[in-house]
Symmetry: C2
Subunit: 462 residues, 2 copies
């Protein structure tokens, strides 16, 4: 028998209870997602009306279904949940996603109902994700078991877990359509009445598709268990946590919408650090860290080399280094000589390297290429940040050429910031990121992400 | 006689010294920018070779130019600056932009040269912007006097000033191509040897096109004068400052690239607060604040009403409110009744209002429209943040309809965050922002911007 999370992420057969023929209703979108992304297991839509949906036969009840179904995804109203679970028990379905709300997030009655559901499930050996949950996604199994309308499943090595009912779907769609970041798995846990983030992390520990685990949390249940598992896993795979409910107002809001327990944030913060978990401060950082951990190797030290088109930007980067635990590298003589011999005067070689004074008359490949290569080869430099000015006439950079030259020496993390014409920024972002060089939305965010990479790398250094 | 900055931003005639016929050289781009954006004053390119550039006659020397020229823009090398200024003096040109580097930013020799240039200019009644400066932009005068290749000049009410040589151009191009934000003026001051940010602020104080002044600073010279002027102006127009060189490393970097003086950051911070200046912490916030101050009226209080598609996002917003000096509004009974009567159960009316539980089966106009309108009308609510999930099938919102309904009651700031499909995000961002509703890249950034608006509004409250 595999891990309890396995049937949720690698089901061979799924009953979709509350499937619908009406286009764009949740019960339709789930079936559409399963079909659209080429899920290869069996799909059994269930609806009392029978008929067909998207080429699948609709079953009138769970009772009518064939045996040995791995997973049920239920959209039945809260007050029909017992009937649903009874039918699942009778049919031998042991894993159930409860998508509907009306439980602990909706007041005392809902809380009572949720407790009763949990008791019943325990007695009958049923494991639950939810209630108030969106359902799991696995790109390696072409599984998009969610009523959130997805446009695509983009494969990658980041797994998202959320203690929330409506977090992963929209974020996933944003990532799919906007970032050059792929995911392995994505699971909204909703009210987290049974299967929780620790269970999913255990499963992901041995998932070969997952390199980075990103968890959105509002609460912590079984803190010792969570930290013990996290400590073990984070040695192998970085765990990024975005924990909200940091303030009184945030806590009150969190408590009301999933019925989560309160937890002191300072204690939580210390515990995360001890377990080697990297904490993101906000939504921007959460996605930035997913990107930098997905794309980069470990940092061997905290010395950053910076190439920039502007001294002002160099100053910002210098500030950010101080703030995020990095420092400006002292360039080796070798590096200085390489750059001096390539650039015309009045090049002043320093770190950050401000290319402004020499930028306009030069071929920009040489201009950027020489220093970046020199920095990448410098034993005094642990990571390189390049800030490019994107301009159709003044600054045309052959990024493919640059990257091909860098590919052999790129044994340290490199990050990029682009400013200027937006069309070019999008275009070059894609080229950089498809070649494993993460691009960030501001110089400070690039350094913040590298700083987190350093915190992680140094925590587990020998 | 007008303000000393006036000839730089409202010149009737410009000599472009070091103009070039070679496409995409700086001396070409300046002339191209003047022509392309329809500058209506006289343009006199100067180059010893003579000939023509882009239809303009090229003059062989400053000596050959007609009389009464308002402004010279010089790209001659640093060591020819004296000759240039002598010629300007002889010709009666009293305002000069020095674009070239090779001055205080390039070491001791350069510093000496800069001091001598300043002395000479003083003796001859010449005012200088630069050296090491990109040149001024004024959208109202169709003036793009810069060697930075601009794609467009988008009119608006934000003025940018930078104590840097290469700040405004790339940022401007990014704004033009990516944000729905227009600018009035933009000036890189470079090494700031003569005309400084205080002079420009004085000019902008009475510029009817400018509503918001955004200043990038690395240093402060004449601190008392700056603060006195800022205190006076910020009562009328918000002043946003991004000051780098906050840390030791940042200071060292700033000092080296423009030769700026060191300033203790804590003292600077306190002084800014006392003057009513709003300080941005980083590049993201700098642009966010330009946006929120440009688009919004003052805040009457710090109580925020939040409409969201997700309880998790509501929790993030609640945290951000605590962190940025705002609080969650207590909804009036009237608002609660309006929402209850419009939404089906199990709607739980709270703030943040989590629409998740009722979102799918409802018309999304009604879903979002009723609560947003109720919040905007609620006397207990001072600002509204709406978080929309953008999805082509599940969440189609008629924003135009919503905005047309809101237009009569919108007497308080409204901000928006969009997540989901990126194409829709871009499309709807445009619609919102063209209607004066700023859209932010994360819920935290939206609240941070509203928090700054509140700091400003409360600082100058009666």
């Amino acid at each position: 028998m595999g891990h309890i999370v396995k049937p949720f992420l690698e089901p061979r057969s799924i009953a979709v209870v509350g499937a619908s023929k009406t286009v764009n209703r949740p019960g339709y979108i789930v079936v559409r997602n399963l079909r659209e992304f080429g899920f290869t297991g069996e799909v059994y839509p269930v609806n009392p009306q029978g008929g067909e949906v998207l080429g699948f036969k609709m079953y009138k009840s769970i009772q009518c279904l064939p045996e040995n179904i791995d997973l049920a995804f239920s959209m039945v109203p809260a007050d029909e949940t017992f009937e649903l679970l009874s039918s699942c028990a009778a049919k031998g379905i042991k894993s159930v996603v409860l998508a509907s709300g009306g439980f602990s997030e909706s007041g005392l009655d809902g809380k009572k109902r949720q407790n009763e559901v949990v008791s019943f499930a325990r007695e009958n050996g049923i494991r639950i994700i939810g209630p108030n949950a969106q359902g799991p996604v696995s790109t390696s199994d072409n599984l998009g078991l969610t009523f959130c309308h997805l446009d695509s499943l983009k494969k990658g090595d980041v797994a998202f877990i959320a203690q929330s009912g409506q977090f992963c779907g929209p974020v996933l769609e944003f990532i799919n359509s906007s970032l050059n970041l792929g995911i392995s798995k994505s699971i909204d846990l909703g009210n987290c009445c049974d299967i929780d983030e620790t269970h999913v992390m255990e499963y992901l520990e041995n998932d070969p598709e997952t390199k980075v685990i990103a968890v959105y949390m509002e609460s912590i249940r079984g803190g010792e268990r969570f930290l013990k598992v996290a400590r073990r896993i984070s040695k192998k795979k970085p765990i990024i946590v975005l924990k909200t409910g940091r303030t009184e107002d945030g806590l009150r809001t969190a408590t009301s919408h999933t019925g989560a327990m309160k937890v002191n944030d300072t204690i939580f913060d210390v515990a995360l650090k001890q377990a080697g978990i990297i904490r993101a401060g906000d939504m921007d950082e959460f996605l930035d860290l997913a990107k930098v951990f997905s794309g980069s190797c470990k940092l061997q030290g905290n010395r950053v080399g910076v190439v920039t088109y502007s001294g002002g930007i160099g100053t910002m980067v210098a500030d950010a280094c101080s703030e995020f635990g990095l420092r400006l590298a002292e360039l080796s003589n070798d590096t200085i000589e390489k750059i001096v011999s390539a650039l015309p005067p009045p090049a002043r070689i320093s770190n950050p390297l401000d290319l402004y004074a020499v930028s306009i008359p030069l071929d920009t490949d040489a201009l950027y290429g020489v220093p970046i290569k020199a920095f990448m080869e410098d034993v005094n430099v642990d990571a390189v940040l390049s800030c490019f000015y994107m301009n159709r006439t003044a600054m045309k950079i052959d990024v493919n050429h640059l990257l091909s030259e860098l590919v052999q020496i790129r044994k340290k993390p490199m990050a990029v910031w682009l400013i200027g014409e937006y069309g070019m920024i999008r275009e070059y972002t894609k080229v950089f990121e498809e070649n494993g060089v993460p691009v960030f939305a501001s110089p400070e965010r690039a350094i913040r992400a590298l700083g987190a990479l350093w915190r992680y790398s140094s925590h587990f250094a020998e």
